[in-house]
Symmetry: C4
Subunit: 246 residues, 4 copies
């Protein structure tokens, strides 16, 4: 069984859950600080950068440990290709912004665990989180472009809002390809989120239908049990009749 073989992996994942969540929050705060603090000296800037890379390193180590603990390594690689990409791609300097993906994955798992049953709260929470990350990332990517229309966090938040609601006035939009990558992830993420919500509603309907099925099955079971009692009674009656005959 998968559950038996990968017990060590599961144990690791359970233990690593809280530390990783904490690290994800740290990453988000430090990243936000780095992006928003214009007056930071280049020294402070570099310190923060080091912290971010350290957090990323922990995420990479977590992936490596999980791969090592997995019994069927090929299967692990296939089912966790997205995790691998989210760890490897940010090594390219231009794709630094993708480090946020790992952070979002970890935080998403926590929010999902707490609120999946309340679809509305879950959707609101994860949307807010994605929105904040996208605003920070697009600001980071855009603000040094000479013709940039997104130069403050307010601009970035406004752009995120018009994009995620698909209104798209076109008063602000990314010009750099890193910014466009953020936009692409934001749009795809929005669609994926919608898919999650639709799927949750659909599976909830199906669960209710299984309830109908079960209640029908239960009622039928009771009827069948009753019928069998009747048949047994009949058989006994016949026995008695035979006894009378002789």
């Amino acid at each position: 069984m998968f559950e038996t073989d990968d017990r060590r992996l599961a144990r690791w994942e359970q233990r690593a859950e809280w530390p990783l969540t904490a690290l994800a929050v740290v990453f988000l705060l430090v990243y936000g600080w780095q992006v928003l603090d214009n007056r930071a000296t280049s020294g402070l800037h570099q310190v923060l950068e080091v912290v971010l890379w350290l957090v990323w390193l922990v995420f990479a180590v977590d992936y490596a440990v999980r791969l090592k603990l997995a019994v069927d390594k090929r299967k692990f690689l296939l089912t966790h290709w997205f995790d691998l990409l989210a760890v490897l791609l940010p090594m390219v300097r231009q794709l630094r912004v993708l480090r946020l993906i790992s952070v979002l994955k970890v935080l998403n798992r926590r929010i999902a665990g707490n609120f999946r049953q309340r679809v509305g709260v879950y959707a609101a929470g994860i949307t807010l989180l994605v929105g904040v990350c996208a605003s920070l990332a697009v600001l980071d990517a855009e603000r040094n472009h000479p013709d940039a229309t997104i130069t403050t966090f307010g601009d970035a938040a406004w752009w995120t809002l018009t994009t995620i609601s698909t209104v798209g006035y076109g008063d602000r939009y990314p010009l750099t390809w890193e910014g466009r990558l953020v936009a692409a992830l934001l749009m795809i993420g929005g669609i994926a989120l919608l898919g999650v919500i639709t799927g949750t509603i659909a599976s909830w309907l199906v669960e209710r239908m299984s309830g109908v099925e079960d209640s029908v099955a239960d009622a039928e079971q009771a009827t069948l049990a009753e019928l069998r009692l009747v048949r047994a009674e009949l058989a006994e009656l016949r026995e008695e009749l035979r006894a009378t005959k002789t």
Copy 2:
């Protein structure tokens, strides 16, 4: 029981329902007058402003009374945090526009009460109401900005329409941050409305499914009752047979 303990709260809410609805309509009319009447003397303007603040005060008093009447005050604060925000935030002069939120909440309850069963009418009514409020609010926020593209009520209504339908041509959009706050609330409100409608349809489907469940349960009940009659008949037959034997 919650229902027993909070009987006084419920009685207050029932009694306050009509007066609050009337006040909400008054607020909307006075606010509309204030925003649309360009030629109003500054004196009239201030009279209208006083009326608006008085209505807001009544809403605040209503919240305070409800909090006082609630038995479990902590629970009331937690479940009514949105009401508290809607009452407190407008005290900041810049966030005056948020006074409309309380108004919308009161009017929404009334529309929902009357039309929830007819989803289409409810959605149309609340969308119209939100649209009018958003148009007034964005006009109020934008028209004094030097580069404003929204300077008449016609512009504001057109902007609201292109935003709520997510078309977003980008010929008009808010520039002030108050205007963008209105835009954010409009976009979030539109998504929430969609959620309400989807939820209503889903819960209607589930209700129908419960109907199936109930009808199955009823039919099974009839079958079981019939079966028990058969078993009783059999038992009596056996008794008679025994009587014959002796």
Copy 3:
């Protein structure tokens, strides 16, 4: 009964159906000719205008006849308020474009009758029809505005497409208030169409559920009938037993 009392109304509606559909098609063709034929002499233009007003007059007469034939006139006015508006509003010269609403209502009924069961075909057909009408109407409204961005039918069709898909690039948009009225109706119509499709799917699901309910009821009926046969058999057996005893 409504069906008995309003038999004359129903008969009229049935008889008027084909002629009205034909007139609607004529209106659409003549309107399209008038809008698209730039080189038409002012004389021809006026002839076409007369034809359009005549068709509108027939629609108005149809409404009057239906009102006269209705037994409960107040109820007819209430349930057909939209028809009345669609007939009265175009009398204002500026709202001429609303004549297309009556045309769309008549043609929609025909398409719905043929294709409601095939949701996809119905949606495609009515969307195409609405799109052509909106393109003609917006071109009619916009092309004489000095800063108009919609001046050819190609522009108008492209604008309709970007609007109905809610993409809204903002390269073309209406400037006149008649054009914006067309845009508003197009956006609302698009949402309404989506509602019709969602509703059709939901009601189809409910129908299937009723099928489950019916099949369960049938099966239960068979079981109950069988059980009653068993009980009758038992009763007869008892009778025979009694006959034996004596």
Copy 4:
């Protein structure tokens, strides 16, 4: 029977499936090469063009063979009108871009066959494919227009993304009518895809409901069988009683 008569057609379609898929991939690669390789000599360009026309010719021949093999030719023409259009329209030089439609149809069938049950993967795959095709096609159509805003593949991909997500900033949009045709197909395709996904979820729900129906029917069948056994037992009992009597 249709299945018996059109056995030869079905056999042809089965045999042609893999070669056509391979040709579709070849077409896509060659088309991409032709569009993206700016430095290609006009000689190479013409070679690639010849390859594209040859692939198109094979698609046309496939249609002709299928029409010839079909028993009821009129029915085949009616049910495959879209295939005919997709083969004939590209003959007009201006509509060359429509050759991609046939390619998409063939590849879609393959993706659908493999992933229809996993709606998410199917939707992602076909969206990616449509997106790449639309980007290539719009770049092909636009880049020679003097005022074009879409002049590189990056621009085209960005435009495709903002269009398919209906954000539509309006920073880039097609100006040529070939480009607008691509945009129209992209928008319609996006809506159609949404329809496919909604339909798949709905039909999955209905399937589950049929499951309920079947399980109910099975349970009822078991009850009925049991009841018939009871009745048989009773009949036998009566027989025995009669034997006792005599």
